[in-house]
């Protein structure tokens, strides 16, 4: 059977799913900063991170989605909750929630908004900030392609950056141990 005759699956990356997930993420993000109870904030953050993992799936990057779930939703957020649960909720409820840094906040929001606008505007000469992306459907071997980009002798261009990043994490771990324990 030639590939053209095969029935094509309906694509997952429909606008409906994008807007749904984006809405979940934005609502989750707003809840993170508006809840007074830190545990509620953390749970809203987990929802946001899971929706983000689903967005990666929509971009045909299952490996990134899986790592997002394991690292952020499963690992980091558990440690967050672990720490938050040990602080007294009664005290945090009384504290000020926002530190009223209006000027800096507005500047940061304006910068981010400007960036968004810059991404979507095309100059009269037809140039955009980002080149037109070409979509390749590599869902089936996404993991292998990422491995190739990182480690392959011919195509691996990110090996050095990857190793440097992991070295940075190692430094952070050693720093934490040294700070926590004076005598080892």
């Amino acid at each position: 059977m030639n590939p053209a005759a095969l029935p094509t699956n309906p694509p997952v990356a429909t606008p409906f799913f994008f807007y749904l997930l984006a809405a979940v993420m934005i609502i989750g993000g707003i809840l993170v900063i508006t809840r007074k109870n830190a545990v509620h904030s953390a749970m809203a953050l987990i929802t946001t991170l899971l929706a983000q993992a689903a967005l990666y799936l929509m971009l045909y990057a299952p490996f990134v989605a899986g790592v997002q779930i394991i690292l952020y939703a499963g690992g980091i957020m558990v440690l967050f909750l672990f720490v938050i649960m040990l602080i007294s909720i009664e005290r945090t409820e009384k504290e000020r929630q926002f530190n009223k840094q209006w000027l800096v906040g507005i500047a940061a929001a304006a910068a981010l908004g400007g960036l968004f606008i810059a991404v979507y505007t095309t100059t009269t000469s037809g140039r955009t900030l980002f080149p037109e992306g070409k979509l390749t459907f590599a869902e089936g071997d996404n993991t292998q392609r990422i491995a190739g980009l990182l480690f392959d002798r011919a195509t691996g261009t990110y090996m050095f950056a990857f190793e440097i990043a992991s070295l940075l994490l190692l430094v952070a771990i050693i720093g934490a141990v040294v700070m926590a324990k004076k005598r080892i």
Binding site: P62, I69, A73, G74, L81, F82, M85, E139, T143, Q144
Partner: protein, 431 residues
């Protein structure tokens, strides 16, 4: 109408998982089948655990509800559903309400990628094993929030213990899993895979279960996983989060009725899920025993008859028990019920002899049989091992399993790449 029938039939010829074929009808059917099968397995496991534990301790176990207590789990389920559902006054209502659902969702979602056979999985993902580990690690969130939301001391301590334990054993578990993924990269295509179906197919292509690969490296990895998975599911001897003598019931002390039964369901389906990971990664998944040594059409036939024979054996045992029931008139209903149960088992056995069914179902049978072996091990551990102390538990996790896992990973990589490494060394020394 004709189009719908054709849509349903088209999958049967496609020889793919419903997810890969993109067939919504069959995907739904598979999801329902897996859900129902899991629920039945949890009910059966509930009865078996009490019976086997009782027999290990020279007791009879449940005997009152139904013949040999067979209807006990159903009676329990009814009791739990009718019980009053209490939410503590000072509890955080929303979080208390959400927590059991997080745990259940995480426990059931992992079965999306579990391969019961080459085509008998809901779907096959490129990141299969990563997905299973990731989603099952989400159940920690449910346990932590359940313990915190109860606003009570025992649940909080139980939740802290549980999360500490699960986070630490996940590390050793991950290292053991990575060593298997390295082994898959030695198949014909010579690229590794994370897909659950791909891992079993790699074992088929290499004609070896990964327990026996690079002996004893595969065996050590399997052992690390087998210890870590008991800790990961909070079962004896690592059931500190719900140590009755210290913490009443741990993180679910304040839960009652339906919500408690959700935790119960999640615990048992998580046990089945990690057992299926172990079976898929090390014990050849759906492959039958000795596919190379005992080849040929005769052996194929013999092995395909085993599922039916197993059910007939169970039926025969049930009929033997029926004969041995007391001959008192009060026991008449129970005797008839037990005979009916035996007849049902026998009927299933006979259906499994039909050639069309036999060929389609035997991989599911082998997979389930291997998983059932692990479930028996769980009960056996609970009946024999004393509970660990928390510092001992952490010591085993961080000081024994983690270094062993790291050494195993490096050794597996070296052994797997030995020819390339030797070639590199030769290239350096004899240019």
């Amino acid at each position: 109408m004709h189009g719908v029938v054709q849509y349903i039939q088209s999958y049967l010829e496609s020889n793919q998982t419903p997810g890969a074929a993109g067939n919504f009808f069959w995907a739904t059917v598979y999801i329902l089948l897996v859900f129902v099968g899991l629920s039945v397995a949890v009910i059966a496991m509930n009865w078996l655990e009490r019976k086997i534990l009782a027999h290990m301790q020279v007791r009879l176990g449940p005997m009152r509800v139904g013949p040999h207590g067979l209807l006990q789990p159903i009676a329990d389920a009814l009791k739990l559903l009718l019980k009053e559902d209490i939410i503590p006054a000072e509890a955080d209502k929303i979080v208390f309400w959400v927590a059991p659902f997080i745990v259940v969702l995480a426990a059931f979602t992992v079965f999306v990628v579990v391969p019961f056979g080459p085509t008998h999985a809901i779907t096959d993902m490129n990141i299969g094993i990563l997905f299973m580990l990731g989603v099952s690690s989400l159940s920690v969130l449910g346990i932590v929030t359940a313990g915190w939301a109860s606003n009570s001391h025992y649940p909080l301590i139980g939740a802290l213990r549980s999360s500490a334990q699960m986070v630490s054993y996940e590390v050793a578990m991950g290292l053991a899993v990575v060593s298997v993924i390295l082994m898959t990269s030695l198949n014909e295509a010579s690229t590794g895979t994370l897909s659950m179906i791909g891992i079993v197919q790699a074992q088929q292509a290499q004609q070896q279960w990964f327990v026996f690969k690079f002996f004893p490296l595969g065996l050590i990895g399997f052992f690390i996983f087998a210890v870590a998975m008991v800790a990961e599911t909070n079962r004896a001897p690592f059931d500190l989060p719900e140590a009755e003598s210290e913490l009443t019931a741990g993180f679910h002390t304040e839960y009652s009725g339906f919500r408690w039964s959700l935790f119960f369901l999640a615990e048992y389906s998580a046990m089945i899920a990690v057992s299926s990971i172990a079976v898929t990664l090390w014990l050849g998944g759906w492959l039958r025993p000795f596919p190379n040594a005992l080849q040929g059409s005769t052996w194929e036939l013999v092995f395909s008859l085993i599922p039916g024979l197993a059910f007939l054996f169970l039926a025969a045992m049930t009929f033997y028990s029926t004969v041995r029931m007391p001959k008192h008139p009060l026991f008449r209903v129970q005797t008839i019920g037990l005979a009916g149960f035996g007849a049902l088992l026998g009927l299933i056995g006979l259906i499994l002899f039909i050639p069309g069914v036999r060929m389609r179902v035997q991989d599911i049978f082998w997979f389930s049989a291997k998983v059932a072996g692990f479930m028996y091990l769980y009960i056996w551990y609970r009946g024999t091992f004393p509970r660990y102390r928390f510092d001992q538990l952490m010591k085993v996790g961080w000081k024994v399993l983690l270094p062993t896992g790291l050494a195993l990973l490096i050794l597996t990589a070296v052994v797997a790449m030995r020819s390339e490494l030797l070639a590199d060394v030769r290239g350096v020394w004899h240019p």
